[in-house]
C-alpha cells in the first residue's frame, strides 16, 4: 500500500500549513511544559525527609559556591547507581534540592560529587583544602582559593533572602509567615528563616561554629557552613526505602 501523499498539498495551502505547524510546536511545548505543573509530586514527602531552606550564613556560602563556579567541577547529584552509593552515599532526593534556586546538580565531575559532603570532613580540613587543595590531596587539580579568608559582605543578606522568597523559598517577612514556618519547620529553624533577623542569625551561627578558626565572619565561614550542611537534612534511618522506590 502506498499513500499518495504530496507535500505540495501543505506547501501550497498556507492555512493548512499554519495549523499543522502550530500542532507540531504545541506537541513539543506540551512535552516540555506540562511536567512542570506536576513538579510538586516529584518531591518525596516520606518520614525522615525534613528538608529546610538554608540559614542566612549557609545561604551566603551557597552564593560564594556559585560565585567561584564550584558547580563547574562538582556535581550535587548522586545517581541511583551502586558505585555512586558506595562512594557518596544514598542517592539524592528531589526533596533535597527543593529550595535551591538555581539547583546545583551540575553536569560534570572533575572533582567528586558534593551532595553529601556535609559532616564527612572536619571544618579544619575544608579550610585547609580550600586554601591549598594539594596540601591535603596531593593529586588534586583544584585551584587555590586564598581570598576566601577575606571578610564576608553582610550588607545585602536580607535582600538576597527576599529575592529567594520571591521565587518560592519560605523565608519569612511577616509575623504570619514566621508562624507558618514554626508550624512547618519548628521554632529553631523558623528563627533562622526570618528575614528581619538575618544579620543577627548569620553572625551568631558564624561565631558559634567558627568554621575557619579565626575571629570575624569570613567568606570561608559561610562556604564551610554551606558545605557542612549539604546532604545532612534527610534522616535515612527513618526513611522507608520502598516508599522512595514506589514514588518514582
Amino acid at each position: 500500500m502506498r499513500i499518495n501523499f504530496k507535500h505540495e498539498w501543505i506547501e501550497t495551502n498556507i492555512g493548512l500549513m499554519l495549523v499543522l505547524t502550530m500542532l507540531a510546536i504545541s506537541v513539543g511545548g506540551l512535552v516540555e511544559i506540562a511536567p512542570l505543573f506536576f513538579i510538586n509530586k516529584t518531591i518525596e514527602k516520606t518520614e525522615g525527609v525534613d528538608v529546610r531552606p538554608y540559614s542566612p550564613l549557609e545561604m551566603r556560602g551557597r552564593d560564594i559556591y556559585i560565585r567561584e563556579g564550584c558547580y563547574v567541577c562538582h556535581s550535587q547529584m548522586i545517581r541511583p547507581f551502586r558505585d555512586e552509593k558506595m562512594r557518596y552515599g544514598h542517592y539524592s532526593l528531589a526533596a533535597e534540592s527543593q529550595y535551591d534556586h538555581p539547583f546545583q546538580w551540575g553536569s560534570k565531575r572533575t572533582g567528586p560529587d558534593l551532595a553529601r559532603v556535609g559532616g564527612k570532613y572536619s571544618n579544619e580540613w575544608h579550610v585547609q583544602h580550600l586554601l591549598a587543595p594539594r596540601s591535603m590531596v596531593p593529586e588534586s587539580v583544584m585551584p587555590n582559593y586564598p581570598w576566601l579568608m577575606t571578610l564576608l559582605d553582610q550588607s545585602d543578606v536580607a535582600d538576597r533572602m527576599k529575592a529567594l522568597r520571591t521565587v518560592g523559598v519560605p523565608y519569612s517577612l511577616t509575623e504570619a509567615e514566621r508562624e507558618a514556618n514554626v508550624k512547618k519547620f519548628g521554632e529553631q529553624v523558623a528563627e533562622q528563616l526570618h528575614i528581619p533577623d538575618a544579620n543577627k542569625n548569620l553572625v551568631e551561627q558564624a561565631n558559634l561554629g567558627n568554621y575557619d578558626g579565626k575571629p570575624g565572619v569570613s567568606e570561608m565561614d559561610a562556604l564551610v557552613a554551606y558545605l557542612q550542611v549539604l546532604g545532612t537534612m534527610v534522616d535515612f534511618t527513618k526513611v522507608n526505602e520502598d516508599e522512595l522506590v514506589h514514588s518514582r
Binding site: F81, R82, R87, Y91, Y121, E124, W125, P138
Partner: protein, 306 residues
C-alpha cells in the same frame, strides 16, 4: 541536455517551470528511510507498554516491566521498572556476592579476622577501598597523616589508643582534640620554661635550667599540665592527651624546624595558642557496622596496631 530529458521522463517534477526550463524534482523519500521511520514509531509504542511512560489519571502508566528486590527487612518487594528499584536489585546482587565474606566478618572478632588469611585478604582489599574513599583525604593515602593536622596511623603512637576496640570506637564516634590556650594564663617566661621541659623529654637541645623550672610548672597547679599529660608526661589515651616523651609530633611543627631554638619555639607556640582542632567526624551513621569493622582491621594493620 539529453541526460536531462531522460530524467524528466522518469522522475516526477513539481510541475512548475521557472524561467522557461527551470524545474524542481519531486523525488520520493528512499524506501529504507521510510520503513526505518515506521519501525521507530512501532518501537516507541512497544516501549510505552514495557516501561513507565505517559501520565494517566492521577498517576502514570507504569508499564508491564517489573522489578523485584529484597528490602532491608527481608521482605520481597515488587515495583514497576525504575532506576531506584534497579539500584535495589543491583545492591541485592552485590550483597549476595559479598555475603560469604561479610557474614564471616560479622561473625568473627577482630583477632580472628586478622589471623584468617582468606578473611584478612578480603579485609585488606575492601579496607583499602573504604580507606581511600573516606579516610585518605585527611590521613593521606598510606595513612601517614599530615603534620599539624591529622595524625599518622602507621606508627605505634596513638592519641586515643591503638587496640582494635579503641580504633573501632574512634571510627564510630569520631574524636575532638582540645588543649586550652595557655597564652593568657601563663607569662612568656613560664611558657618558655615549659617548652624547654617538653623539649628535654624528647631529646631536643634545650636550656637545662629552664627545663627544671618547666618541670616544676608542669606538675604544679598553676599550669596543671599533668592533669591531662600525667606526671610522667606519657599522656592519657582515654582523653586523647598525647605522650610528650616520644619523638612523635602532631601539633607543634618540631620535625619541620631545623634549629633547636626553632623546635622549642614551635612547642612554645602550641602551649600559648592551645589546640582546638583535631576533629575527626563520626562514621557510625555514614558507614555500615561491617564496613567499620573492616576499616578497623585495616587501620590496625597499617603498622601500629596494639
Amino acid at each position: 541536455m539529453s541526460e536531462q530529458n531522460l530524467q524528466s521522463q522518469t522522475v516526477q517534477t513539481t510541475g512548475h517551470a521557472w524561467d522557461g526550463d527551470l524545474e524542481e524534482f519531486n523525488n520520493p523519500l528512499p524506501t529504507w528511510w521510510v520503513y526505518t521511520f515506521y519501525v521507530t514509531i512501532v518501537f516507541a509504542i512497544v516501549y510505552w507498554f514495557i516501561y513507565p511512560s505517559w501520565p494517566f489519571g492521577k498517576g502514570f502508566l507504569t508499564g508491564f516491566s517489573n522489578i523485584t528486590y529484597v528490602n532491608k527487612a527481608g521482605e520481597t518487594v515488587s515495583s514497576h521498572w525504575n532506576t531506584r528499584a534497579l539500584l535495589m536489585e543491583d545492591l541485592n546482587k552485590a550483597d549476595e556476592m559479598q555475603k560469604p565474606y561479610f557474614s564471616k566478618v560479622a561473625a568473627s572478632d577482630f583477632n580472628q579476622i586478622a589471623k584468617d588469611p582468606e578473611l584478612s585478604g578480603f579485609v585488606l582489599s575492601a579496607g583499602k577501598a573504604l580507606f581511600t574513599d573516606n579516610c585518605a583525604p585527611c590521613h593521606q593515602q598510606g595513612g601517614q597523616g599530615k603534620l599539624g593536622f591529622f595524625p599518622n596511623l602507621t606508627d605505634d603512637d596513638w592519641l586515643y589508643g591503638g587496640t582494635f576496640d579503641k580504633i573501632h570506637q574512634t571510627i564510630t564516634g569520631g574524636r575532638r582534640g582540645y588543649m586550652p590556650a595557655f597564652g593568657e594564663v601563663l607569662n612568656a617566661d613560664q611558657i618558655d620554661a615549659l617548652a624547654n621541659y617538653v623539649a628535654s623529654l624528647s631529646g631536643i637541645a634545650h636550656d637545662a635550667n629552664k627545663a627544671v623550672t618547666g618541670k616544676a610548672l608542669f606538675t604544679s597547679e598553676t599550669a596543671a599540665c599533668y592533669y591531662c599529660h600525667t606526671e610522667s608526661a606519657k599522656g592519657r589515651q582515654d582523653i586523647g592527651a598525647p605522650n610528650l616523651t616520644d619523638k612523635i609530633w602532631l601539633w607543634a611543627n618540631v620535625p619541620g624546624a631545623d634549629k633547636a631554638e626553632d623546635k622549642v619555639a614551635a612547642i612554645r607556640n602550641t602551649i600559648a595558642t592551645g589546640v582546638n582542632k583535631g576533629v575527626m567526624p563520626a562514621w557510625g551513621e555514614r558507614l555500615s557496622s561491617d564496613q567499620i569493622k573492616v576499616l578497623t582491621v585495616y587501620v590496625h594493620q597499617l603498622g601500629g596496631g596494639k
